[in-house]
């Protein structure tokens, strides 16, 4: 980032010009790779944790009837719309040196970013999984019970039947996590070491930084990288878990 090469203004022409992608991007070697690595590390970890928490919750809520269930479902669905900046601020106050977790020294670390993305992605994974599980007809569950299945067997059959929906839930959670900029910027601090390797900079915060400096075409280029990355992950996950597509 020391040597910045001026790039002409973006017009509709340059955007579709093949030369556009050959723009001499003013980054040090390994910079983009390192921000991609941080993006993946943070968002995948967050989503795996969200799935480990969200899926059991979705199954528990989906399988049982209890007073206040509608309220719980409403809360989960509301959580899907949590503004990422608000979550970022709440996590910041938690991990800040004066916050309750201050002694853990988590502020401006990837761990703090994982926490905030976990908070953002969990309601999405839970809510979409819950919808998928609820869709499975009672008949399927009853049949499993009748055949002598335990609660666990019934859960496994339901997961298996709802598999496509659950994969969608995980991908929706990942989409929520990897595309958000508000919370990781606040709790991560968008830090890059002086040698140009990312500590807490993700693709989204890098895009924000380029935009702040008025380098919109490079911001767009990074946006393209992010979209391509999400596309590849979607392809992989669908191949592993959702052969119905």
């Amino acid at each position: 980032m020391i040597e910045t090469t001026p790039v002409g203004p973006v017009t509709a022409g340059t955007l579709f010009d093949a030369n556009f992608l050959l723009v001499d991007v003013p980054f040090e070697q390994g910079y983009i790779e390192s921000i991609i690595r941080v993006s993946l590390l943070v968002s995948l970890t967050a989503v795996i944790l969200s799935t480990l928490v969200g899926l059991p919750v979705a199954l528990a809520v989906g399988f049982t009837e209890f007073p206040g269930k509608r309220l719980v479902v409403a809360l989960i669905n509301t959580g899907m719309g949590l503004p990422s900046v608000v979550v970022g601020l709440l996590v910041l106050f938690g991990v800040s040196n004066q916050g309750p977790l201050g002694s853990l020294d988590l502020v401006f670390t990837r761990e703090a970013m994982i926490i905030s993305q976990f908070v953002l992605a969990t309601p999405v994974v839970t809510g979409v999984s819950l919808a998928a599980v609820t869709e499975i007809e009672d008949g399927v569950r009853d049949a499993a019970y009748v055949m002598g299945g335990t609660r666990l067997d019934v859960a496994l059959v339901t997961i298996s039947e709802a598999r496509a929906g659950i994969v969608t839930a995980v991908l929706a959670g990942l989409g929520r996590a990897i595309s958000e900029v508000g919370s990781v910027l606040i709790v991560g601090g968008n830090i890059v070491r002086a040698d140009g390797t990312s500590v807490t900079r993700t693709l989204t915060t890098a895009i924000q930084l380029e935009a702040r400096q008025g380098r919109f075409e490079i911001a767009l280029l990074l946006g393209g990288v992010l979209i391509a990355l999400v596309l590849v992950i979607n392809g992989i996950v669908l191949r592993i878990g959702g052969r119905r597509y």
Binding site: P6, R37, S96, L156, I191, V199, A211, R212
Partner: protein, 297 residues
Amino acid sequence: MSIQRRGFLTGVSITAVSVAGCLGSRAADSPSDLGELTVGVTTSTYDSGLLDALHSAFESTYGVTIRAVAGGTGETLARGERGDVDVVMAHARSLEDEFIQSGHGVNRRDFAYGDFVIAGPPDDPAGIAAVDTASEAFSRIAATESTFLSRGDNSGTHVQERAIWDDSEASPAGEWYTEAGLGMGETLIQANQRGAYLITVRGNYIDLRDRLDLDIFVEGPVTGGDPALDNPYGVIVVNPARHDVDYEIAMLYVGFLTGTEGQTIIEEYTIDGQQVFYPNGLSKDPNFDQYTPSDES
């Protein structure tokens, strides 16, 4: 179906293992044993690339890894107040004085200065090309109700802007006065698109001038213009009695910044062939003001 499930689980566990592998490598990310220093910095020094030059030299000399967190001055001082950074860099003396008077920081030093300029659309609807001072220019902009774009984010630039409005006795109110709530680069681009006047750090203007249709109408002190557009940068260590600050390394950083090596890097740093930061950490003459709250506040 069970085969498919196994496939899914294998996929999850491979991802988990590879992610865990990445997490484990965190320790290996730190090239030094001497520790890390978290510095809250202003966006203008960060975006210009000056800090990359300073920090690489500091890291290679002392083997301390610097984590620079960029933000407006108001945001940066708030980070210092919470103890989330060890050192703060700022360019709004009134806020810095408040910070020290409340006991959040110690050992303030000047290390560089630049200046602000007032820029606007080339046709100059407010006619400020004819005036010499920032406050007079602001008065004319207000009197002609020409579009003005403020940072509106409590950054050093925004604080400076408000101080000039106070001097001008004009009031920044009305439909012509708008706040961007954005960084300097984005604010310049927006002012360009809307044909608005603004006060900007000179370095950011130079960085983007190729694509801006904005002219400078009131120069700052660097080119002999209005001293009210002075833009001094200070560095303050967060109070080690209040927070867990690595005080010795923090002072090493301040020493580097205000010492010969750091000052030389600042002197030699240019944007687009033009110097925009001027070192003032070394001085034979007394510079007592840098340590204590200035008389004006």
